[in-house]
């Protein structure tokens, strides 16, 4: 199963991922019309600026997710792709999930939860496609780790 990975060194802080996330989750899915929608689309990925470095943060799609564990209504659940998503209808806005998430990547739209849904309508999440430096990737753990090992090996030499 593919996961969302980050090469922190490559992040330029351009925020293209944030914009792409909003556009993907807008009604019209078009940058020019999305800014005029009555409910402005919200982002579900974040570029944190910490000690002069750009740190993209997003839902890690934890197994045995803390957010699912604390959800009183079962709104937070795993879908058929094994991605943690929130069912808006069942969500009561208690925000226990917000308390539970260790990464701070769950947000709220008034009294409903908004979180990364790994773009169910796309093969590759919008943020990954938008990243101009390929700091964000969508691949299997073994592919990502193999690349990392390659880099580590080159540093040993």
């Amino acid at each position: 199963m593919k996961e969302l990975f980050v090469n922190f060194d490559k992040c330029l802080g351009c925020l293209s991922c944030e914009i792409a996330c909003r556009v993907e989750h807008s009604l019209t899915k078009n940058i020019f019309t999305s800014i005029f929608e009555s409910k402005p689309p919200r982002k579900r990925v974040f570029v944190q600026f910490y000690q002069n470095k750009n740190i993209p943060l997003q839902c890690r799609n934890c197994d045995d997710s803390p957010c699912i564990k604390v959800c009183p209504t079962g709104a937070m659940h795993k879908d058929e792709r094994n991605v943690t998503i929130c069912d808006e209808e069942k969500c009561i806005g208690c925000f226990m999930c917000v308390l539970a998430c260790p990464f701070g990547v769950i947000s709220a739209d008034r009294k409903k939860v908004i979180k990364c849904d790994r773009c169910p309508d796309r093969e590759t999440p919008a943020c990954v496609e938008a990243c101009p430096t390929k700091a964000l990737t969508f691949e299997e753990v073994k592919e990502f780790s193999a690349e990392k090992r390659e880099l580590a090996a080159s540093k040993v030499i």
Partner: protein, 634 residues
């Protein structure tokens, strides 16, 4: 819409070849860039100082101000008028050369060029209020050139003389009223009439510096002023001086599309914008000595083909074919049959350098202002024009033997096109003055006139909008005129013919058949958009109305360049509404959008319209035209 990238069959053929052989072309690079930056697309990225770069969150959650405090409208407005500055600079710099050249020819300092059209020279002089009695052509030419050059450099605050001499009477009165009323309402001086072509561009650069002009209306007004210094200034000077030096275009037929490249000849493609160069190349290629030389190398002769606006300049005045418009530049090289692609300035893809290396093609730059990494540079100077032109043609001839026959793929596409519709020729076709045109408009045979101009843009299917917008308009008895890459698109589509009128509405059809003109009139290159202004001014003055009262509309339906922003702005400011597609980078500034679409309409009569759908666009244009007809009482 099909998956094909172009409406032009020859282009699709070459694109398929390019993909098969792995030649990188503009469409590939556009794909790589997707998705393009949202902040940029909305115009809310500011890089004007190093407290930044700053961006405004268009969704309202992130920062709403740059570090200096500039809000979205300020940033969008500054970016927009810097685009106008660049576009006006390109056109006006282009105009500077023929103006200087006219002076040098007049003073006997340059014998490589001559005054070809003395009649035009006298007409221009009269417009500028220069007395032509008892003066020879050199004396008149010197005075005209001096007025032109002075319009680039004078430091007083009076409007430039070309604008004074050419703009419609009621239009100039309106501009003065706008200046007065803005001052009354705001207490700040707002200038609309350009004082000096170069200065208005400098003024933009100053104003958009950090911490100068921050009010979107004030910023945009200066953009308008600079654009008027282009349309009624730099571009107009280019057109008029070029007509004087190279001849006012007359109606004739040329061939268009890649099929004009010939297997058995030395092919030289001239690309870019300035006829001071292309005219010399055309002349050099007719030299019997060089033709013999070509024959000695095994070619049947030398074949010059134009590309983009310099192609338009030479096709308007000579029987030189045009190989294509903007998105054809790489495709021409990929035919494998081009010995040399010679370029000067504007719209030239630097990618041509690497692409040429895949073939025997020599990519030759000539301008001191335009060097391309990987290109061969042969410096062109007006003082040495004939020799440099001959040298360039000889380089092409010498390269003929290096052609790899196995790589030659010239599409057959090659259509005949009726071109050369300068204002003078249009009036001539009408019988000598605007009366027949006005009568046709009054009787409703021609409902109105739409000018389509501008570039290609790989973001839209090449030529699709150019051709289909035009075809839909003539069905509604609307005459279509235009310039630039639009005109070349129609030439390639075989629509620049009297026959094309068969698809027009009954009224327009009857006029075209009576006058023996196409329903689509090719008026020249991008600086020749000034011809459209001159025609509009002629109609307005004839009817004693303002240009904004006339049933006119403009469109740049595949625009790409900053020059297009300047052109669109000067038409809007002159009272002609302008349709644009794709979306310009302004939607992030709601106040800016209001100024461009609503305030402009109230104040100038002209306004911008952004619309993707062709039918909707034509409906908007027709409604406006009918509204204007009603107001005129026709």
């Amino acid at each position: 819409m099909s998956k094909e990238l172009s409406f032009d069959r020859a282009a699709n053929q070459m694109i398929e070849l390019a993909h098969k052989k792995n030649y990188e072309i503009v469409w590939d690079r556009l794909k790589e860039q997707q998705p393009q930056c949202g902040f940029g697309q909305l115009g809310v990225c500011c890089r004007n100082c190093v407290m930044g770069p700053c961006r405004i969150d268009p969704y309202g959650e992130g920062p709403q101000k740059g570090v200096c405090g500039a809000e979205a409208d300020t940033i969008v407005a500054r970016n927009l008028v810097r685009m106008i500055a660049a576009g006006a600079a390109a056109h006006s710099d282009h105009g500077r050369r023929p103006a200087m050249l006219l002076k040098e020819v007049a003073e006997g300092k340059n014998t490589h060029y001559e005054i070809k059209d003395e009649g035009k020279l006298k007409e221009v002089a009269k417009r500028l209020g220069i007395d032509v009695k008892d003066k020879d052509k050199f004396q008149i030419a010197k005075e005209v050139a001096d007025v032109a050059l002075n319009d680039y450099g004078k430091q007083d605050s009076k409007p430039i003389r070309f604008l004074e001499g050419y703009a419609a009477k009621k239009l100039k009165e309106k501009w003065l009223k706008i200046e007065e009323s803005l001052y009354q309402n705001t207490g700040k001086i707002f200038g609309v009439l350009p004082r000096n072509i170069d200065r208005e561009i400098v003024d933009i650069m100053h104003r958009t510096h950090i911490g100068v002009d921050n009010h979107p209306l004030s910023i945009i007004m200066q953009g308008i002023r600079a654009s008027l210094g282009d349309g009624w200034g730099g571009s107009l000077i280019a057109t008029e001086c070029q007509d004087i030096l190279f001849g006012t275009p007359k109606v004739h037929a040329v061939y268009a599309n890649l099929g004009v490249l010939k297997k058995d000849r030395v092919n030289l493609v001239i690309h870019g914008h300035e006829p001071v160069l292309s005219e010399q190349i055309v002349a050099a290629a007719q030299d019997p000595e060089l033709i013999e030389y070509a024959k000695s190398k095994g070619a049947k002769g030398i074949n010059i083909a134009g590309m983009c606006c310099t192609g338009n300049e030479i096709l308007m005045r000579h029987n030189v074919p045009v190989a294509g418009n903007e998105l054809h530049q790489e495709l021409a090289v990929i035919t494998g049959a081009v010995e040399a692609m010679v370029v000067d300035v504007q719209c030239i893809f630097p990618a041509l350098a690497n692409l040429s290396k895949c073939f025997h093609t020599k990519f030759i730059s000539t301008s001191d202002q335009a060097l391309f990494p990987g290109a061969m540079h042969v410096q062109f100077e007006e003082d040495n024009a004939e020799e440099v032109a001959r040298r360039i043609v000889k380089i092409a001839i010498d390269n003929f033997e290096n052609r790899d026959e196995s790589k030659v793929n010239i599409p057959e596409e090659n259509k005949e096109a009726l071109v050369g519709f300068s204002v003078e020729q249009i009036l001539s076709a009408l019988g000598g003055n605007v009366t027949p045109l006005v009568e046709a408009i009054k009787q409703g045979k021609i409902k109105g006139v739409v000018g389509i101009v501008g570039c290609n843009n790989p973001k839209v299917k090449q030529d699709y909008y150019h051709v289909n917008l035009a075809k839909e308009l003539i069905k509604r008895d609307i005459l279509v005129i235009g310039t630039g890459c639009w005109a070349i698109a129609l030439a390639k589509a075989g629509l620049l013919s009297v026959d094309a009128a068969k698809e027009a509405g009954e009224g327009l059809k009857s006029v075209c058949e009576a006058l023996n003109i196409p329903p689509f009139l090719h008026m020249g290159s991008c600086v020749d958009c000034s011809r459209i202004l001159v025609l509009a001014a002629g109609l307005a003055d004839y009817l004693d109305v303002d240009i904004s009262d006339l049933p006119l509309f403009g469109s740049a339906p595949e625009w790409m360049t900053e020059k297009a922003v300047s052109i669109g702005t000067y038409f809007v400011a002159s009272g002609v509404p302008v349709h644009l597609w794709p979306v310009p980078p302004v939607l992030g500034g709601k106040e800016v959008v209001k100024i461009l679409t609503q305030t402009a309409k109230e104040v100038f009569g002209g306004f911008f319209v952004i619309e993707e759908n062709i039918q909707k666009t034509v409906d908007i244009m027709e409604n406006h035209i009918l509204e204007k007809r009603k107001s005129l009482g026709i």
